[in-house]
Amino acid sequence: MTRLQIELPGLSLKNPIMPASGCFGFGREYSQFYDLSELGAIMIKATTEHPRFGNPTPRVAETNAGMLNAIGLQNPGLVSVMEKELPWLSQFDVPIIANVAGSQMEDYVHVAREISKVPNVHALELNISCPNVKTGGIAFGTIPEVAMELTRKVKAVSEVPLYVKLSPNVSNIVEMAKAVELGGADGLTMINTLLGMRLDLKTGRPILANKTGGLSGPAIKPVAIRMIYEVSQAVDLPIIGMGGVESAEDVIEYFHAGASAVAVGTANFVDPFICKKIIHELPALLDELNVDHISQLTGRSWRKHEQAVYRP
């Protein structure tokens, strides 16, 4: 399996596949289906300083080849995540990427400082892009200076490398990526959901109680691929790509675009075995593509020549 092994800041990944934050809880449910140690990493549900209930229901709605969610960062809060969820996860041989959220800079800083001390947390994912939280959220994810500042502050206190999760709801994704690179990010994860909405035919009212929600799933893949293609050429940070990944072929497309690892979100709901399946299917697909190591594919869409790279 060494041809799937990937080294990223803080993360020694058996393979480049991991569940995306918010789509795998804290792993307990999916541990019924397979051994979580098979995963490259796990991105856990966003953690905030205090427990959050999130938004009223309905919180999800299906759309064409996608779904909207407005969970609203429900989570049991920092203390519970540190005392219950992370210790439980430590039984598995898998690095955890802790998704950190908040409404104010201080919240982020506090959560990042504490959670980055937990031994199985190997990296942080700074969630500046959740479309479902009103306060501050939008500025963090769409104003480059604010994102840079937040990145800098969190980086200063984090004991592990920091990945910043970018929002696709911006005019210029490259500018955002450069800003957080300047702020000291060690890597990027992209993309979070596109802001969308669905209305009920009969009542005319939004189906989500929160009205708007984040669009995920196969529908958004072309947008994610385009953004990763642009950003991977403009910054020197590794990218964990996501958005509509459902198959080993999709994973390859993300590598081609410029990703160094890939997260799977919505597809877990459709097929709880999907991450494991993709991991098992990748080697045969690499054979078909005549590629020794998956990392050779990163950025192939824009690389001038086929460069000889990385042999582990």
Binding site: E29, K45, G54, P218
Partner: protein, 257 residues
């Protein structure tokens, strides 16, 4: 254990207007532990529709490895599901959730209250209660006669009252009207139906009871936080239950409706 299986369609028939009964066979049935559990059904093999659909197990038979689902074909997914023929396959994830807790009940009286597509799981429940010594009575509410189903099957198990909104079958009105007007006696009640009905029951019925809730779902297994409810004793707090994995059945009074 929750399994994912491509189950075989034993039969698939129209019961009433847009209401189908789908009988499936497979190993998954062995895992069913209580009436009121549900399954998550993937319709088609592609991305349209994308998400699974939660459907209650109406009845199951461990020996024959068969279970039946009764559903209303209304939206994209259930309409497409209705086209699968006998001999075909349906991708099922389940059994999910905790069903009704059916204890021994020698001589005790159970009142089963169902509304619309909340009626199906009560059928398996009723059989199960009978097997455990309970006396069962049913109050079933439908929009109108054309969408009613299983009346006879319920009658075989115990006294059955029907209410329809337009009065085309049984009494005109809601299940609550029937229960109050007939002053039906019971030791415990069991209900499944739309949330407004459950709320009315929770507010108005006395005694012990269990409610089976409905909520829009993502994962169906407790991971995505789509289906959470506040608790009745702390309706603004951060405590919660998940309909998919903590429910769909809850004792009356637990969940804020």
């Amino acid at each position: 254990m929750i399994v994912n299986e491509s189950m075989k369609v034993v039969s698939h028939r129209l019961l009433a207007r847009n209401i189908y009964e789908l009988v499936l066979e497979g190993e998954l049935v062995k895992e069913i532990s209580a009436p009121g559990q549900f399954v998550h059904v993937k319709v088609g093999s592609g991305i349209d529709p994308l998400l699974r659909r939660p459907i209650s197990i109406a009845e199951h038979n461990q020996k024959e490895k068969k279970m039946s689902l009764i559903y209303r074909a209304e939206g994209k997914g259930t309409m497409q599901l209705s086209l699968v023929g006998a001999g075909g396959r349906v991708d099922v994830l389940g059994p999910l959730g905790n069903g009704f807790d059916v204890q021994q009940g020698e001589g005790r009286k159970a009142l089963l209250i169902g509304g619309g597509i909340g009626v199906p799981p009560l059928y398996g429940l009723s059989k199960s209660l009978r097997n455990n010594g309970w006396e069962v009575k049913h109050v079933l509410g439908f929009q109108e006669e054309a969408v009613s189903f299983y009346e006879d099957k319920f009658r075989e198990l115990g006294p059955t009252h029907i209410a329809t909104v337009d009065g085309s079958l049984g009494r005109k009105g809601f299940v609550t009207d029937v229960i109050e007007n007939e002053s039906i006696q019971y030791d415990q009640f069991f209900a499944c139906g739309p949330n407004p009905m459950l709320k009315a029951l929770q507010d108005r019925l006395s005694g012990n009871g269990f409610l089976s809730l409905e909520e829009r779902m993502g994962c169906g297994i407790g991971a995505c936080f789509a289906c959470v409810c506040h608790l009745a004793d702390d309706p603004e707090g951060t405590d919660y239950v998940k309909v998919c994995s903590d429910g769909p059945v809850f004792p009356v009074g637990v969940v804020a409706l």
